[in-house]
């Protein structure tokens, strides 16, 4: 046994040495690194990373207290898993030299060929490593977003397998299509920071998982309400804050477009909060804090594809549109269709992302950003068509591949926990922990429940 381990270790070391010795010699015609841009994107990367623990709180507050650790664990697990996957395989699939406009080739496998110097193809004023890191944070938050759809019932081992396969087979190709030189980018689809790549892909996939694994036990019988809305507010605050890095950083430079993206991001979040709260206030008579933060996030989602292309006034209109539309989905259409998207991953990210991607085709303006295109409002017809195509392609591809993955994984591992484990709660049954052990005198009873 020990011998085997030694041999394994030696093999791994040998592999690492080979990889490291293959590092590129410093190129003669080095492209200059811009220190301002580099500093900005490094900070933005950290901001985007912070969104995922932010999401852990946003989602964690919405579940019942017996499941809060399980949803937080899913977010943290995604940070760990995707970070490693990205370095080994994910980056090259998304941003490696183009193969048939569909996916990147394996030139950057293990980040082979990536260096402290800028890449000639992407963001050529910042080190290639910084670009890799910035893009990684998007891959992380995207996979984490899905977990809201199947919260409180998915088996952790199945989740780990799902995330690794999903990020490899859905996120990486879709990111390539739009940002890595793939076919949607070539067609002229505009997705500044990830309306299709991040929000539609995660939202639609979440919906498919929710439909596939079924409702939570007692969904139609029990009262299931958020156990800690202040957590949700904290999470929304971290998301809003991190989103500045997400959208402004997507300019990939500390320039005017980054400044525009920063401002419209804040504007649309604010308008989204106002429009959601106004809708529910009229509808039910009370303005809720849950509605305010949900509307803000819906606004942030909507502005994501448009952030570098629209004016602040357009952002106001987009925010006013997205609140009532997402509200209608999570309060009425979800109930009518009967699916259990526990934390509205589809209702906010899928729907909000769709509104944003289409609105980009309406409100984008070359007067704002000459590198963009003109939407319907400014006389451009073509862009809107391409945006519709990008939305449809992402729905179909993310939905189909997710369904396929679930069919395969469910042959190996049950996707759902057992009924007994679900009743006890995933924190105790899957992770052997209790979020509020000292507050909750029934903790021992619940462990007894596990044994029966």
């Amino acid at each position: 046994m020990k011998e085997k381990r030694k041999i394994g270790l030696i093999l791994i070391l040998a592999l690492l040495i080979i990889l490291i010795s293959n590092m590129p010699a410093l190129a003669a015609e080095e492209i200059l690194v811009d220190s301002g841009n580099t500093a900005f994107i490094i900070i933005c990367s950290a901001l985007v990373l912070l969104m995922t623990p932010g999401l852990a709180f946003f989602y964690g507050g919405m579940v019942r207290k017996k499941n809060v650790l399980s949803i937080m664990m899913q977010c943290i697990a995604v940070m760990a898993l995707v970070s490693v996957q990205w370095v080994l395989l994910g980056y090259t699939l998304a941003f490696g030299p183009d193969l048939g406009s569909i996916i990147g080739n394996l030139n950057f496998l293990g980040l082979h060929g990536v260096s402290i110097f800028p890449s000639p193809d992407y963001a050529n004023t910042i080190p290639h490593y910084v670009f890799v890191a910035f893009q990684l944070m998007f891959a992380i938050i995207t996979a984490a977003l899905i977990s809201g759809a199947f919260a409180e019932r998915m088996r952790f081992s199945a989740f780990v397998l799902f995330v690794l396969l999903w990020t490899t087979l859905v996120y990486d190709p879709v990111a390539h299509w739009v940002w890595g030189g793939g076919w949607l980018g070539q067609l002229g689809a505009l997705d500044f920071a990830g309306g299709t790549v991040v929000h539609i892909s995660s939202g639609v996939s979440g919906l498919v998982v929710a439909l596939f694994i079924g409702k939570r036990l007692g969904k139609d019988r029990d009262v299931i309400v958020p156990h800690n809305l202040p957590f949700t507010v904290l999470g929304a605050a971290l998301l809003w804050f991190g989103w500045f890095g997400f959208n402004a950083g997507s300019a990939l430079a500390a320039d005017g477009i980054a400044g525009l993206a920063f401002l419209v991001t804040n504007t649309c979040a604010a308008a989204g909060a106002i429009s959601w709260v106004a809708t529910e206030w009229i509808h039910h008579g009370k303005p809720t804090v849950f509605g305010a933060v949900s509307g803000a996030v819906a606004g942030l989602v909507a502005i994501t594809p448009a952030a570098g292309f629209v004016s602040p006034l357009s952002a106001v209109v987009m925010g006013i549109m997205v609140g009532p539309i997402c509200y209608l989905f999570v309060s009425r259409i979800k109930k009518y269709l009967g699916y259990d998207d526990s934390l509205d991953a589809f209702g906010i990210h899928g729907v909000g992302g769709t509104v944003g991607a289409l609105a980009t085709g309406i409100f984008a303006s070359t007067a704002v950003n000459p590198a963009g295109a003109d939407g319907l409002l400014f006389g451009g017809l073509e862009l809107f068509g391409v945006q519709v195509l990008a939305v449809a392609a992402t729905y179909v591809y993310a939905g189909l591949i997710t369904l396929l993955l679930l069919k395969v994984i469910s042959k190996v591992i049950p996707l759902r926990v057992s009924d007994a484990e679900e009743e006890v709660g995933l924190d105790a049954s899957l992770h052997g922990e209790d979020a509020y052990a000292y507050e909750d005198m029934s903790v021992n009873d619940r462990l007894v429940g596990l044994q029966s």
Binding site: V225, E280, R332, D344
Partner: protein
């Protein structure tokens, strides 16, 4: 001896404790409880999904007293806790067979 169990509005607890102190009633056990009686359900909305709240937070206070003090205590609880609105709570009175103070092994009223 009697046990007096009063279900009251949580907001009334401090006032009631002070009032009972004046009667030199100090010993009590207090619980946070949920319950319902005549109060109507309240509708709440989480992301527009209607949730019917039909259990309300109340405080339950338990006092064991000698028979002759029961009326005074019950009277006092009513004075403090009545608002006249639905949801003021209820008082239950039970006979108590015995009391034992664990530390001293005293029994009966001596153990109060």
């Amino acid at each position: 001896m009697k046990k007096i169990e009063a279900i009251i509005r949580p907001i009334k607890l401090e006032e009631l404790k002070a009032a009972l102190n004046e009667l030199e009633v100090r010993g009590m056990t207090v619980y946070n409880v949920m319950g319902r009686g005549l109060q109507k359900d309240i509708k709440q909305y989480y992301r527009g999904q209607e949730v019917s709240v039909d259990l309300f937070p109340k405080v339950k206070i338990e006092i064991v007293s000698p028979d002759d003090a029961v009326d005074k205590i019950v009277q006092r609880i009513q004075e403090v806790c009545r608002t006249g609105q639905i949801g003021d709570g209820k008082i239950f009175i039970y006979p108590v067979e015995n009391i034992i103070r664990i530390r001293t092994r005293e029994q009966g009223e001596k153990a109060l």
